[in-house]
Amino acid sequence: MDTAFSKEDLAFQKEVRDFIHNNYPQSLRDSINAKRKNGEDLSREDFTDWHKILGKHNGWSAPSWPKKYGGAEFTPTQKYIFEQECAKAECQYVMPFGVNMVGPVIYTFGNDEQKEKHLPGILSGETFWCQGYSEPGSGSDLASLKTSAVKEGDHYIVNGQKTWTTAANHADWIFCLVRTNPDAPKPQQGISFLLIDMKTPGVTVRPIYLMDGSNEVNETWFDNVKVPEENLIGEENMGWTYAKFLLAHERSGIAGVARSKKAIERIKQIAKSEMSYGEPLIQDPAFQRKIAEAELELKSLEYTELRTLAKDSAGKGPGPESSLLKIKGTDIQQRVTELAMEAVGYYSNPHLGSTLSNEFVGPDYAANLAGSYFNFRKASIYGGSNEIQRGIISKMVLGL
């Protein structure tokens, strides 16, 4: 047993740290901080600036991709280090839809034309992707999706509605699960994996506002949208297979350990400034205890993730640990947002992002903490709700 980094790993850590230090734009930091304070949504540029910089540096925008497709092809340990350093430096994360989701599907199941056409833009951050899976009424029961794609000549005609489409308002392309055979004996059969240009006539995006007032997700409507047949990935009616591959593929970072660590550090800093019973809140035993419990859970989770990584490195292949990482990771994210809100007492009340006011009140660090708590209730719902994840473990690990 050994969790110490090798010399090579330590050198890599320094390389990443230096690269971030020298290349992460201060303007991006300022822009994001200002928006957090004013409760505004991030712009497309906020999402892509860092992605574009990484894309120009040895494929660092795509840590898992094989080198032959321009990726960084990091080892699991390198990926872990890279995420740690990005989180420590509070870098804006690279949106997963292109790099972690559709990219691997394209280079695994796509044809050469598709690889040539799509991979470079994903890598560079020029093309902004979103994911069209969920539909109204389908929720966790993804296979019940209804959006139809009917072949007409060399096109598919797509009709239907996707929902909870994160960042569809910024996206150039969407990858969709669509029903190509409504008569298939099982709902999982008859689904295809289709890439759709968001600028195609008939595609409409409508914002969904979450309870904190943010517009992260959208409804995406398809009204007789003509999609060229060359945008079909792999075989028709095999989309469910690709979707499952994608779910199992990218587990690294799913637990969000490094970012939660940083968030706890931030809470400790807030708790030094906030007063409680006439002393810094950080001295309050009840609050201390909650911080410590979150830290212990996180420390455990960090090693659960490291054990998984080590298994991957040893070529032992992934198990259904991703469900555990997802459940515990989101649980901690939620606890941490709650603690932050709690730390600032009455100053969790002001809603700075409201259209009615953007005057800033209260201490800087209090901005949007309640909003963040409310927003993060999504974490145990999205990406397969934590109930669905427990069902997966029950079936796949315990055989119940």
Binding site: M211, P350, H351
Partner: protein, 385 residues
């Protein structure tokens, strides 16, 4: 021993229920919170007409002489409707202070105007460093001849934007955290020396930062005795805490019922999600939390609030237990609604937000748990059985 409403209370309950049903449907409510002021003057007039603004005041001033139970009835229904008009901060809290401390002249002048709806008072007590400690007051009032000069900063004063007058807790003597030396002053919100920074809250209510710079007030604006306001402040905040918990209980009832209905109707994998045993048990646990929260509210309402020790114990027991129920019922209501629960469009998120912020109001779980512990464990010999 009974937990029944009197006939008058049942009438009051019906009246408020009708008001919410008829005048506060969801669409109306959403349009009110989007207005500049964030509340509706006509509703306030109607409260006046219905006698609601007089519930806690004595009959000699034209009020109903209502009990904590009466206020609970009003607030529980307001909770169910997410009524945003500043009834709690102005009628219950500020009104309570005026009744508690006002001279005969003051109450004779002020109370009828509150009941008629002509004036709204709010109480500015919190400061950034005070958190939930009501005695932690930096805002100073310095005597200058017959006048006082007040300087300070009051945080997150609910309903101040809608108020005609503000009651300011200021230090006239003692250290920053001394219970003695706090005096209350009444000032018009438009006075020279008062600046209000109004903003909406995350749960769509309204609050203000109150900046007080060289505000000059005469002796007559003092409410109660100089240096001696603390006990009344604590008492009225305690009573307002009970009212806030009644509002929370109304909200939790909506959250629990709405979620149960949603689960019965929402289908996944070919059946209502309420057919999942895990969801059934979660709904059961939400129901039990609701019942336990209701019980502890009834405990507080029926306890001897005239005894300060009993009152403090009951209120802190209530607020900390209610805070736990808010978290459990609120978070699970969102979880079981799934994506729909996350949206601004769907009403469940608004109930969750309001309940959560009531959890902070007048002290959160940790604060009241500590206060309860200090009252019940620090001096164990004196414990009664």
């Amino acid at each position: 021993m009974n937990f029944d409403f009197t006939e008058e209370q049942t009438l009051l309950d019906n009246m408020v229920t009708s008001f919410v049903r008829d005048n506060y449907d969801w669409e109306t409510r959403c349009s009110i919170v989007k207005t500049e002021e964030g509340w509706k003057h006509e509703n306030w007039s109607q409260f006046a007409e219905l006698g609601l603004l007089g519930v806690p005041f004595s009959e000699e001033h034209g009020g109903l002489g209502g009990s904590p139970t009466d206020l609970m009835i009003v607030m529980e229904q307001f909770g169910k409707g997410l009524v945003v008009e500043p009834y709690l901060p102005s009628v219950i809290l500020a009104g309570g202070l005026i009744t508690n401390l006002g001279s005969k002249e003051q109450t004779n002048e002020i109370v009828p105007k509150i009941i008629s709806g002509d004036r709204r008072y709010v109480f500015a007590y919190a400061e950034h460093q005070s958190r939930f400690d009501l005695f932690d007051v930096k805002t100073s009032a310095v005597k200058d001849g017959d006048n006082y000069v007040v300087n300070g900063f009051k945080s997150v004063v609910f309903g101040a934007g809608a108020a005609t007058h503000v009651i300011i807790a200021a230090r006239t003597s003692g250290d920053q955290r001394s219970k003695k030396g706090i005096t209350l002053f009444i000032a018009e919100t438009g006075s020279q020396g008062i600046t209000l920074q109004n903003y909406p809250t995350i749960d769509e209510y309204r609050a203000s930062e109150v900046i007080i710079e060289n505000l000059i007030l005469s002796k007559d604006s003092i409410l109660g005795d100089i240096d001696e306001a603390y006990d009344a402040i604590e008492e009225e905040i305690d009573k307002s805490t009970i009212a806030a918990c009644a509002e929370a209980l109304g909200i939790l009832e909506v959250l629990k019922d709405t979620t149960t209905d949603y689960c019965k109707n929402r289908k996944q994998f070919g059946q209502p999600i309420s057919k999942n045993q895990v969801i059934q048990f979660r709904l059961v646990d939400m129901m039990m939390e609701y019942e336990q929260a209701k019980s502890i509210l009834y405990m507080a309402i029926t306890s001897d609030l005239s005894d300060p020790i009993e009152r403090r114990k009951a209120v802190s027991a209530l607020k900390s237990r209610m805070g736990q129920a808010i978290k459990f019922v609120g978070e699970n209501a969102i979880q079981l609604h799934g994506g729909m629960g996350m949206t601004e469009e769907y009403m469940v998120s608004h109930y969750f937000k309001r309940a959560t912020m009531i959890g902070v109001l007048f002290g959160n779980v940790d604060y009241h748990m500590k206060r309860f512990i200090d009252l019940t464990q620090s001096n164990i010999e004196k414990l009664e059985n």
